[in-house]
Symmetry: D2
Subunit: 400 residues, 4 copies
């Protein structure tokens, strides 16, 4: 961590301890047992807003934007350390206006948006007044190959007419989500990397149908959700396109690096927590006359978890540093390395923690199974492991 | 399979196809969206009863009892083949009166029950009029070491007074569950293997408090459930003890072998289904210009899954045969071998199938995540993998 | 095992105990420290011949030929049990005239040879007077894809003129090796599976240059060797072709099944031996105050080894049975399953045994490292694991 | 790397390129095919001496000593970068007087030796006039638990009388090896960590019997060797003890850290080489119509190798840094982490490289099998993986 970012890091930790931790229990309690799972309970948003205002007043706001005049100009490396802290308290990011996918969307708007687009959407996002979503994945095709994207946008009379289906659109169930950045195919006959575009689609545009939540191991993540969305003759003005027709891939390069780093840092935080729970359980339970930790391979499991956690952390920090030094594009192999490495290994560590807990490990009495499903999902999100291994493998071939 | 059991096997398959498959959809539809998740919807039990009566009339009833005058005297090997079929349709077992944990409970009552116990509990169980549960696991101790069981039963004035806490008691949420076989500590100062007893506890006995369901990856399995139960000054007559004071372990030996074999056969059925889904998906989706099956390690993953499935099947059949030839006690090492081997490998195969499906694999559109959580839970149920490896490892040492 | 083959099985065990075990030590001692590593020491072959004669006199001769009027008509299943015994004593096979690659070569000659070919080469092989080799693998191409075979044979004036290079030709260093079956390309422009032929090449034909041994982890296996051979304008009569021009692949189908089964059975025998050594060491050494077996994951390693060994054995027996029932061609998927499964798993078990032995495990004081290199080599011989997984994976796709 | 050490790093690379690479071929050629495998061929040592003198003249001499007035005061971190270079050319270390086990022995003498001991042994070692060995491991006990050391030293009339057996004593076969540091038990009745001492034993002392080499997968590493040594009534003066009676463990703490780091750095260099060979082979060979790299999991294997190599390198550098900052004692958990992590993962990478090479991978035409056996041996040397996992696991427990 650079000396200059230490005060920010400390301030974030203080904010979480003083303004977020104290409201978390009430926040979640208010949300329980609601008939309408897809709205916020009275009082929930007020709690959040109070914490957001405190953050704003302390200047802890929008610092996620790297190298920007709006943000703090934090390096990816310095932000990675902060991300690890954010990962420990699920509400923390939102109170600092740095939740996914808003961060990526704001970064895209800030870099490639027109003045009008910034005024209309970036401003309320930077103020924390609305939220947003990013619609990439489709149910009907293997969208890990982005060239497969089949949602079509056709220009008619100065309007884009969009038809298609998207799913696992995170945050689109949130009543505050007002804008979607939608990856569409505009130039089906163009060169492979020039067929796609990204278009701004307000959520209240006629034809945008939120069909329902996609679940992960049965969980619907209400009231935020990973939504299944149908776009049927959705019409938006021609100027809602980002950067330009056929430049959808180019925009993707901008957004994906930092998000993946943060996902990985958060996942490592979960591995730390799983290891902590594993050790606590294994030292406090007795079977066959000994603490469980002394039985079989358990101590070696602990050792291997520690070693892999340290290795993953160093790799993610190195990838963050690569992004700072080389830029997102050149650092993409490092990003793929950690994205292919971290979720798989963290899932294994959480699974081992569950095994050491016995049945309690998969029950509601332990956070482990929810952590597991989260991380398991991460092995698909932002590209499945296999695609990242392909990127890394090919880069290795190019060296020769 | 022996030639003699072929007609029974065929009749079971016919019964499933003719009497169970056609009701499954309606059965589950009736159960959806109920305010009271812990009762059966009107009409559900009627559907089940009709199918049960058809099975009874065809003589397909209680055949699970091995070497018994009541059952068909099926060998474990022959039953294993049938179990594989039962595993393919979740309702099938109940329509044939051979669901867990009733099968184990009936077997125990039949072998060690007094005439009065048989009349009172075995008879209605054999008739399919009531259901039962088996209370072994405890939340407060590592009950994989059965010596740790802490629920106490003390004899007072001709009554056992029971105090303790049990959890993950499968089926105890079912309104038809009337009787519990409860593992308790009666002789805390006796020799290690003589401290426990098993006692019949009617579910409506005052002091039996069903606190709620234990979930598995968030699922509550309503309205059957894996329940959390508190026993507070529960009083049952002295004669409710099974076999005799301090003979709890002895009874366990009787019950556990066949149940584990059946669990494993069913798990292999799930692996087959996962492999089938994996191949279907991988051959029908295209990415990077090729069917997914031609990408990366996918074809090898299919091959390894097929090899492991065949190996597991042969092992389970061999273990069933060992039980027939050597008896449950001598065959226990074979049973531990398959119990340690199968759930772990099946979980891996299902996980790989999920990965090949992309995000759909963990969603409500695919049965895979539910199958995964089932099999993951099985790595704890009836003894965690680690305990079975201990049994196998020690047997290996004894050979030398 | 079938009841009929039991007497043969017993006789083979007796022969090994009475006629082979007693000569083994002297046989190897005679071979030590020779200046000319590529000849047999005086006395060695005499010892072998004596044991061979005893086997012949007892009728234990050439029984490897399945379903043949010459052999005993042993099923592959019955032979598999015998193969496991042969695997325990390295000299045993040769004394019974059933060493690789002679068995495969004799089987091919017996099935597809002309009368003249049988008279000239099969007869002395069946009598144990000469030995043979099989030249398939080439250094210059990936010969796991048999279509890559580049050694050319051109017909000129009634003679095949052969040019090319072969390596890892097992047994070709043995001074008694008189005949090579050589896989060559005769029809480079034909359809993919009709380009190859197999031709009989006497080892003393001018132009057959044995360049030296290929080593395996540094071992040269003198005086038998896995030889590197150059064929330079080697001329043999037109009638030395087997079965017909362009039918080389067809012949391969005949030969490979049983050999692979036997390799796998032998490998399982080595895994048993490694497990045995592992247990002996782990129970007799003490570290940190306990026998090593009680430390860390060692007992679980023993358990997993036992489970995998039993699973492999059942798989190999099932594959042998499949060959008996379905024929070599139809059973080839089963053969590929065991060939892909067994060497890899056995190598892991031997590696774990080495680890438990500490440095002694890789030293000359233990047979483990030699066993390891053998089995490691087996992961390439007769097709690398990857090719067998491809066969199994494709067969799985065809089912759908 | 620190800016100050960059010139040294560059000078070392230059020395290797100019003075070592050019002599390597001749050096090894001179050593081939010697009747007496345990002496140096005429001319070999002369080549080495010339290169050593060049290094001395350039001031590239004894820089391995960290924080010493004799050496360069290089940090462990800076030395780690140099070690990676040394690992690429087997002769390099010796020409710079920094081969194992001399480095460790010199470091011990420098830190705990008396003036007389330094004069007699350290001086010629620092001058590169003699070589040395370190005798710790014993064949008769599990010496991974150092308390098991059974070689006894008894004080009689001002002399230590030593009896015992040691094996895998690296470098003891070299005719220039003149001094052994021998770990012995002097106080069998003392507290566990105070029973051992380390004593200087000149190799020519009567009773020191070098019985022969211990092999690794059959290799004897002549003329250096890993020797098997018997000590029979070996008598050395009382003042040959190092540091003091019962302080053997204390000395071990000093020596082992840096050596392990260097082993690991060198192993990573081998992994890089294996990955390089893997890619070269997989891109230049064709099977089934494609370069092998495009078949099956090969590209993913390359990707995983790259990821693990980068992770290992970061971990080793971090461990080196920990030693610089925390001292050898406090950093020992980091050292155990990398010692448990690196050799196991590198062995896997080399094994995969062999598999991609086909049979050539295990042959004399590829360095891979020799690299494999080296790294496999490293999983025992300086403590087996299991002991290092124990250290790491226990440290994790202490945190809680």
């Amino acid at each position: 961590m650079s000396p200059e970012s230490q005060p920010l890091f400390d301030a974030v930790k203080r904010h979480i301890a003083e303004n977020v931790e104290p409201i978390a229990e009430e926040f979640y309690r208010l949300g329980e047992g609601r008939a309408d799972r897809w709205s916020w309970a009275p009082g929930q948003l007020e709690l959040l807003e109070t914490a957001k205002n405190k953050a704003k007043q302390s200047g802890l706001w929008n610092f996620f934007l790297p190298d920007s005049e709006i943000g703090k100009g934090l390096s990816n490396l310095d932000y990675a350390y902060i991300a690890a802290e954010l990962g420990k308290q699920p509400l923390a990011s939102e109170t600092l206006n740095c939740s996914a996918p808003d961060t990526g969307n704001m970064e895209v708007l800030e870099r490639v948006g027109t003045e009008a687009q910034k005024e209309r959407w970036l401003k309320p996002l930077l103020n924390g007044e609305i939220r947003s979503c990013y619609a990439m994945t489709e149910p009907g095709v293997a969208s890990s190959d982005a060239k497969n994207i089949s949602t079509r946008a056709v220009l008619e009379n100065g309007e884009w007419v969009i038809n298609g289906e998207k799913y696992y659109i995170s945050g689109a169930g949130d009543s505050r989500c007002k804008i979607m950045i939608c990856m569409v195919k505009t130039n089906p006959d163009g060169p492979a990397s020039g067929q796609q575009s990204q278009i701004l689609v307000p959520m209240d545009t006629p034809g945008v149908q939120v069909l329902g939540p996609m679940t992960v191991f049965g969980h619907d993540h209400a009231p935020r959700g990973h939504m299944h969305i149908k776009l049927e003759n959705v019409r938006v003005p021609e100027e809602n396109i980002l950067l330009g027709v056929g430049r959808g891939f180019e925009i993707s390069q901008v957004r994906l690096g930092p998000g993946r780093i943060h996902h990985c840092m958060r996942a490592i935080g979960q591995a730390e927590k799983a290891l902590d729970l594993m050790v606590k359980r294994a030292t406090s339970r007795v079977a066959f006359g000994k603490p469980i930790i002394q039985l079989g391979k358990n101590l070696e499991t602990v050792s291997r978890a520690r070693i892999e956690i340290e290795a993953m952390r160093l790799m993610v920090l190195k990838a963050a540093r690569a992004m700072d030094v080389l830029g997102n594009r050149e650092a993409r192999v490092w990003v793929s390395m950690v994205k292919a490495m971290v979720p798989e290994k963290v899932a294994t560590i959480i699974d081992q923690a569950m095994q050491i807990h016995g049945a309690t490990g998969v029950s509601q009495w332990s956070p482990l199974s929810a952590m597991y499903t989260d991380v398991r999902h991460l092995r698909f999100a932002d590209g499945p492991d296999e695609v990242h291994h392909m990127v890394v493998g090919r880069a290795e071939l190019e060296r020769h």
